[in-house]
Symmetry: C2
Subunit: 427 residues, 2 copies
């Protein structure tokens, strides 16, 4: 096997990570390296794999570091409470804007401020960069010959970018049905990107891991999502940023577009840590948002099971959150926070997407789910802020590039006729 | 004429702006409102219009505000040294990442750190948001019934987004030859977007301004660029951010993709202000980068004229910097900073774009000009940092969405055959 040699030397950031433990059995500990990417067998339940998460020596954490957001660094500003990171892997991720939108409060009939956390302000314009900053670093530290990811969208492109940053080969197993602009995006960072039939994508991923040693940064367990334990750690930094941006306070709720649930769990874990450090005295409700054609977490919560898998009941254009298996941890985050799972139709997502566009924020359809959910669930009414996470930009939508602009010949009369036809009366 | 009524009340930020003066004649002063958008007639030269810029009561500026970047606000963090802004118009613009790329230093044979300032991390994923934060605010404060902009790209979409944020009607006069994904982007914010034949675009813009009172946020002077005086003010904030991000220092040079030159002049003005406040003791060289098919500023500097217009000598895909008229102020910035103007072929731009992608940063072809220029001009060799501004994302390129991904049937043998064909040898 041939591959580009990794760098001879790398600089590792300091971390207070002490190891990983399984979510259901905190007595079982596993080493940090090489990172376990497919959970571990449950101690009692046959055929049930548990996700792992990273634990830290919290007693040694300097809580002063949570006071501000460093404008000169990516999320490794918080390296002490992240898994060890390769310093050179930074693309300046995170530090995304939090924008108050009064029109959303009135649209949803809420008497509290509603904010949008705009994750399209990341290096590859989605929240996935926070995850890949950590997982690609783990691949590099394990001296893996490369990284492999199964994704038709944001996750694949982000993994490709972070691999490029560390000059690590990357294989992306994508889909021929991805939006066309998304296909260009996936293919832009020099990774080996191939469209794979859906039924072969996950088996091929596992085969590549086994035969080549490439490090997987996608889930590899078919029954439920266990995933790479370092990914959720990257998402924690959203909680740290919200804490600073809201004036060192916790919001009343965080509303989150949810596929496998890593984002939702990560945000929850971040706030739990802030409470443990004595920095916040309340925790936000975690509201997870899924398409009503899928809703794996909604199903698990309704059925009181740790996780669920579902068969789609129809088609949705919310490709980034349309998944058939849920994760244990997002279910736990909703339950522990006294939150909720909300399912949404494409019509509801389109309405929310349009409302955001009319406020100056163009989002991916999946991303609009957090705003759509504002009208579909009971939210805290104690005046605390609500934060809707918008995961990605409108460039990632189906239909981008498919419709040419209407035209005018540029004469005054034709211009006002066309403008009127589009709803703008000028004379 | 009918239009959506602006809000009854708006909140204006405090500003130390005292008025505007003409660039060539500081004795001539003009009021801040309504903002003059087409320069003023030169005192001596017939038919020559001078650009205007905003002046401030610098003695009253609190220089302590330049110490940090506020993570909770857009560029109105610096409202005291910006024109008055409508507070509600904020989309959290600015605070973009500065990323050191060691591979660029070696590629360009430089013994100093090279950084990329990634302006794709703005609300509409380009630097234009800094300009429109200021110019759309000026339209709102002038109680204009709407905004009109001539643009086929980043500028038009950004203006549409900032108008949406203030619920102000927006007309975008675009081009049917814009990249297809860009056309979807332009059309996403609810503006009235029409493709107009090139020869009618600027005359129609002027006609709309005269007949409707819509506020122009594009240049309206045909001989040379005078433009909206508030736009360059928004760009100044890049200098303030660089000062913080580089550890309260000035870089040795800032290398800048250049169309009409507002960005280049804005960055220069920001550093001049920082020097005036005693915060930096040196000023960066301003290096402007143009396609070699156009090069209006290059021509003016070579001919020692204040500005120049050019006829294209060929085609270029660097649409965002392919302009036929230059601006007086960017010429002045290059001359005063002892900088340079560099012209680049599309092949050179493509090479730079590819190098950036292989470091994890996917940029618009025009944006790659700042990196391409590293090999084409003499840069400071005193160890000071070089900053390349990357103005926008790869989603804005020609060809996005045009090429489906290569496929595999997902069997191991076919996968390794396809991967090998793409340059990745796995067995």
């Amino acid at each position: 096997m041939q591959y580009i040699r990794p760098f001879e030397s790398i600089s590792i950031t300091e971390s207070l990570a002490t190891g990983q433990h399984s979510v259901y059995d905190v007595a079982r500990k596993f080493p940090l390296f090489p990172a376990i990417t497919d959970g571990v067998a449950h101690a009692q339940l046959k055929d049930f794999r548990e996700p792992l998460e990273v634990s830290y020596d919290y007693a040694k954490v300097n809580v002063g570091q949570f006071g501000t957001i460093d404008p000169s660094r990516g999320i490794d500003q918080w390296h002490a409470v992240l898994p060890p990171l390769v310093r050179e892997g930074d693309l300046g991720e995170g530090r995304t804007s939090l924008i108050e939108i009064p029109a959303l409060s009135s649209w949803a009939g809420l008497d509290c401020p509603v904010f949008v956390k705009d994750e399209s302000r990341n290096p590859t314009w989605s929240h996935k960069d926070r995850l890949n900053r950590c997982t690609v670093s783990a691949a590099r530290m394990a001296d893996a010959p490369g990284v492999v990811v199964a994704s038709s969208g944001n996750h694949g492109a982000s993994a490709a970018a972070y691999c490029a940053r560390l000059h690590l080969p990357c294989i992306v197993l994508a889909s021929s049905t991805a939006p066309t602009a998304m296909q260009s995006f996936l293919d832009s960072y020099g990774a080996t990107v191939l469209a794979v039939p859906p039924h072969r994508r996950w088996p091929l991923l596992v085969e590549i891991v086994e035969k080549t040693g490439f490090h997987p940064v996608s889930n590899t367990t078919p029954e439920s999502h266990t995933g790479h334990a370092y990914g959720t750690e990257g998402y924690k930094t959203i909680a740290y940023e919200l804490y600073v941006q809201l004036g060192h306070k916790s919001p009343g709720a965080v509303v989150i577009p949810t596929g496998y649930g890593e984002l939702a769990y990560g945000v929850w874990k971040g706030f739990v840590e802030l409470a443990q450090f004595g920095l916040v005295d309340s925790l936000p409700k975690i509201i997870i948002c899924e398409p009503n054609t899928h809703g794996a977490h909604f199903t698990a919560i309704a059925n009181r099971t740790p996780a669920a898998s579902v068969k789609p009941t129809g088609a949705t254009d919310a490709a980034s959150i349309a998944v058939e298996i849920g994760g244990h941890r997002a279910v736990a985050a909703v339950q522990r926070s006294n939150g909720a799972a909300v399912t949404l139709s494409d019509a509801e997502l389109l309405e929310a997407q349009n409302i955001l566009a009319r406020e100056g924020i163009w989002v991916e359809l999946s991303s609009a789910s957090s705003v759509a959910a504002l009208r579909k669930t009971l939210l805290p009414s104690n005046g605390q802020s609500i934060v809707c996470i918008s995961t990605s930009s409108g460039f990632k939508n189906y239909g981008v590039g498919d419709r040419p602009l209407p035209t005018t010949d540029g004469t005054w009369n034709d211009f006002i006729r066309q403008a009127a036809r589009m709803g703008l009366k000028l004379a």
